[in-house]
Subunit: 87 residues, 2 copies
Amino acid sequence: MYVIITYDVGEKRVNKVCKKLKEYLTWTQNSVFEGEISKSLLMKCMYELELIINKEEDSIYLYQVPNPKNIKKQVFGQERNFDELFI
Amino acid sequence: MYVIITYDVGEKRVNKVCKKLKEYLTWTQNSVFEGEISKSLLMKCMYELELIINKEEDSIYLYQVPNPKNIKKQVFGQERNFDELFI
């Protein structure tokens, strides 16, 4: 399935969440990751993220599109690449 | 159709992009908007956004899911609300 994950987490946890998501998905932009992933790996990923975040303060949005053919992506302006994240 | 729009734009243009998207979609989190929208309104929205952004520096990602039944959304942690954006 295709997933998009966006997060808004406390400063102390941003790097941990980002690193964790990078294990499973592709970085898109700011706090957005996306990619194809199996259901079982997605469950593992979300379980691990739940161990990192503070549920009282942080927020993670998960969008699942079971068939990747049903989602179309377009970029306006510049396409970001992951290295820029660390400039 | 259902759309998710994420943006990463220069500081000077953040408010303009945010206000424009709020005319058409629902704010989700950070620089993420989403919602159901007709194809013609979406074209209008993207046209207006293109007039605001600097294509050499800014970046807008548009994800379209023609049938909203094909996308499932889950929130982990806190669900954000728009008013927090201005605190």
